[in-house]
């Protein structure tokens, strides 16, 4: 019988987190460390950064939230999204404001290759993870690996009774993150993730029978 790790079954998209702090920064760092440790990377480059906005940086979370709401308006060509769509209900992205931790994943281009990578470079091998000019290929790999990292972290969080959610509606361009508060961001933002103890879930208001994922057979094709 296959030994399935079922912690991911606990996953539910969070609309709003509890206000009380669920995990201390020191302890959360241990989960991040484990995720870093077990996530594989092409040629061991890890072409991404994870910027962790902790519990005491509420003003940063508020700024991230505003960017996401603004982005929804731009994408859907709606001038005042908050007023039009969220005057009666708490907005989507409220999970950002109420979370314990917000993680911003950004692209990272390596400048300090390991000894093994340097040996390969001397033998004429080029690595897209070090290409400062054309970052398209590095960004593709980074996204796949960010997916892996966040999945490993999700599994660890859920095992320890923490909820998580991902956000993919936000401005990606660096120019849209030009406030002084985000000076730590050096390259494009690729994903946002939130962590905390869930209070309200998406599934509380949208029943599963109306919102199922595509059937297994539509996603996995046995050739």
């Amino acid at each position: 019988m296959i030994d399935l790790d079922t912690s991911l079954e606990k996953y539910k998209y969070v609309r709003e987190y509890e206000e009380d702090l669920s995990i201390s920064p020191q302890d959360f760092q241990q989960l991040l460390f484990k995720a870093w440790q077990v996530t594989p990377s092409k040629n061991n480059f890890m072409p991404y950064n994870v910027h962790v906005i902790g519990p005491d940086k509420q003003h940063l979370k508020d700024l991230v939230y505003k960017k996401c709401v603004g982005n929804e308006g731009t994408v859907d060509s709606v001038s005042d999204v908050e007023k039009l769509r969220y005057s009666k209900v708490k907005p989507r992205y409220w999970n950002i404001v109420s979370s314990d931790y917000v993680l911003l994943f950004t692209l990272r281009i390596e400048t300090e290759p390991s000894e093994f990578q340097q040996d390969a470079i001397r033998r004429g091998i080029t690595f897209e993870a070090m290409d400062q000019k054309n970052t398209t290929a590095a960004a593709h790999n980074a996204k796949i690996e960010i997916g892996m990292f966040s999945s490993a972290l999700s599994s660890l969080c859920l095992k320890n009774n923490l909820d998580i959610s991902h956000i993919l509606c936000f401005p990606t361009n660096l120019e849209r993150w030009n406030e002084e508060e985000f000076s730590f961001i050096e390259r494009q933002v690729l994903m946002i993730m939130t962590v905390g103890k869930g209070k309200h879930y998406r599934r509380d208001i949208i029943p599963l029978d109306k919102d199922q994922k595509p059937n297994f057979d539509r996603i996995v094709k046995m050739v």
Partner: protein, 362 residues
């Protein structure tokens, strides 16, 4: 402390033999499986060397966490285990580092590493940090003589599908699974990867005969190219983007209210945005698939070097591909790993602090 790590490593056999002899003398009834003891001792010794070399504690934290599984310590009588490890550390300090002033930092670090090992063996890792991804090692070659139970793969695929979240529940990707018996398709994919290698190296060879010659000239009969895992894998997964044409009821309700979904765009920048989402979610799916496979003793690896444009996959064997391939993943029982020939201390990933930036520390 790189020099000290190399020095300790050069005395590996002497140290291990001394510890084994000490154990046999002081705890003669402990076990009759000394080979297993020696193997575990070597793992810990390797972790010490790696952590001293990189001035970190990553390896010892990892190796010591393996004494626990699902919140249960895997050895009942742990005091003897600790005594043996304590002897090893004392032996290294006394006989190899000889308590010299130049080696003071290394000695202190080694003591710290032992403390972590002891603490973890006794009390366990602070958090439930076990994940089957601990078992991941990049595969160079799979064992084609071994069988893999198809049910395990199907179950792992189902588990990944069930537990992988998706933006607005679209799952904008497909996973095409090549089975063990499709040897010809696997060979075609292998040569595509090899072709991509020649292209990247500025010597683009496109015909099969030319590639076979390149393979022979470049690698001979003893060595295998990096992509040999593709040829020898039991299963190959090809991930492609998927455009949704049948939205679920909730998605349709929102579309009717003016919401726009890039996962349904057939072309243009919105389709590119959906591809970006697909990359991230494919990463999540394959991590969950990997976890389920590794839990069942099935190895996996990822391949990102291949022709990414569908026009290079024009053979009738690939008629199932209606979009560009985004990732290739292999699964099976491994016979040779990358780590067998490239040790961790030569090829570490970037340090934790270089990847994870705790903003509230600033």
């Amino acid at each position: 402390m790189k020099k000290q790590a190399m020095l300790i490593r050069s005395y590996r056999n002497q140290i291990i033999n001394a510890v084994m002899n000490w154990q046999k003398e002081n705890y003669p009834d402990r076990t009759n499986r000394y080979d297993k003891c020696e193997r575990d001792l070597r793992y810990v010794f390797k972790a010490y060397c790696s952590d001293i070399y990189t001035n970190s504690t990553n390896s010892i934290e990892n190796i010591s966490s393996k004494y626990w599984f699902n919140n249960k310590r895997q050895i009942i009588e742990y005091k003897t285990e600790l005594a043996v490890h304590k002897f090893m550390v004392d032996y290294i300090i006394k006989e190899i580092l000889q308590e010299e002033e130049d080696f003071k930092d290394c000695t202190e670090h080694l003591k710290k590493l032992y403390d972590i090992l002891e603490d973890t063996i006794v009390f366990g890792p602070k958090y439930t940090s076990f994940t089957h991804l601990n078992y991941y090692k990049y595969v160079y070659q799979y064992d084609e003589l071994e069988d893999v139970d198809h049910n395990l793969i199907e179950q792992a695929l189902y588990d990944a599908w069930k537990n992988t979240p998706s933006k607005n529940n679209f799952m904008p990707y497909q996973v095409h699974v090549i089975r063990p018996e499709d040897i010809a398709i696997k060979e075609l994919i292998y040569y595509k990867c090899l072709e991509n290698e020649t292209k990247a190296n500025g010597n683009h060879i496109t015909d099969l005969e030319g590639l076979k010659k390149y393979e022979q000239d470049e690698y001979g009969s003893d060595n295998k190219p990096n992509y040999y895992n593709v040829k020898s894998a039991h299963y190959i997964l090809i991930f492609t983007q998927r455009v949704e044409t049948i939205p679920n009821q909730h998605q349709q309700d929102l579309i009717d209210r003016g919401f726009v979904y890039e996962q349904m765009a057939k072309n243009g920048p919105k389709k590119d945005s959906a591809k970006s989402v697909a990359y991230l979610e494919i990463g999540m799916f394959c991590s969950n698939f990997a976890n389920a496979c590794l839990a069942s003793g099935i190895d996996i690896s990822h391949t990102l070097c291949f022709p990414s444009d569908k026009k290079y996959w024009s053979e009738p064997e690939f008629s199932f591909l209606d979009m560009n391939p985004l990732l290739i993943m292999t699964a099976g029982k491994a016979i040779k790993y990358r780590r067998d020939s490239i040790p961790l201390y030569l090829d570490p990933k970037p340090d934790f602090e270089r990847i994870v930036n705790i903003v509230d520390k600033k």
